[in-house]
Amino acid sequence: MNSGSCSSLMEVGYDHHHHGHEELHVLAVDDNLIDRKLVEKLLKISSCKVTTAENAIRALEYLGLGDHNQHMALTNNNLKVNLIITDYCMPGMTGFELLKKVKESSNLKEVPVVIMSSEYIPTRISKCLASGAQMFMQKPLKLSDVEKLKCHLMNSRS
């Protein structure tokens, strides 16, 4: 899967004139199938368009940051991701490493990244926030968490 529009006009936020007309496209990354299903449903109920990935490598490929498709400049507005929500603990590349890769990318560094974890480890949380994570969310996720997330994102855009 490749893509992610790399056009220089890509803005991750949406300008508030279109607020409400444009759906947030969220990339949700989690190695646990049940958690993927849950986060997908939570986001869809909150009117988001959702793409899921089962690990960080697949997520990077989808975002156009994978090793094999750095030369592919695909402009596809449908694939533009407005938010990445990722689990912290994943085999292979962790959510923290994914966060760093996104923030290092000139194309994607403005995309907010939210980290989720089932463990509450304050040093882990501050490490993620210090590396540019928008927010940390404790699992298991509830509907009210996603509502809070949306508010937080909308406020940080306007």
């Binding site: 646990n32 049940i34 299903k37």
Partner: protein
């Protein structure tokens, strides 16, 4: 006079409450129910079914790892326990999750007998929950078939 629907609804309500009070389910299960709607009327049943499949698979992995007598890879067992703890937490399977906490401690301290005991308990517990939820879903179906609505149960 108590109609069939009213009787079934009462049974459903009582059974649901007992599952929470006996600690089989916690409020994450309630959160799952909030996600069920006309677009996905079987959401809870689907997720729960995936969860039980996951249990079977992970328990199989753990059993195989523990079977390597003299050469048990406790970190492998531990990573399956971590997965199971996550899934059980996400669906509100309170007892299974609780057992996973103990199980993880046994893995971390490389306590073989403890791990074997935990594995047995987790196996029994998920099967028990599976049977109870099946009974609950059956009650829902009976209510609907009798022309009634599934009551909202406040715990």
């Amino acid at each position: 006079m108590d109609t069939l629907v009213a009787q079934l609804q009462r049974q459903f309500r009582d059974y649901t409450i007992s599952l929470y009070h006996q600690g089989f389910l916690d409020d994450q299960f309630t959160e799952l129910k909030k996600l069920q709607d006309e677009c996905s009327p079987d959401f809870v049943a689907e997720v729960v079914s995936l969860f039980f499949e996951d249990c079977e698979k992970l328990i199989g992995n753990m059993a195989r790892a523990l079977d390597q007598t003299g050469n048990v890879d406790f970190s492998l067992v531990g990573s399956s326990v971590h997965q199971l703890k996550g899934s059980s937490s996400s669906v509100g399977a309170k007892r299974v999750k609780g057992l996973c906490v103990t199980f993880k401690e046994c893995c971390d301290s490389q306590n073989f007998e403890g791990c074997v005991r935990c594995l047995q308990q987790v196996d029994i517990e998920y099967k028990s929950l599976k049977a109870k939820l099946q009974d609950l879903f059956n009650l829902e179906q009976q209510i609907v078939q009798a022309g009634g609505r599934i009551p909202q149960v406040d715990i």
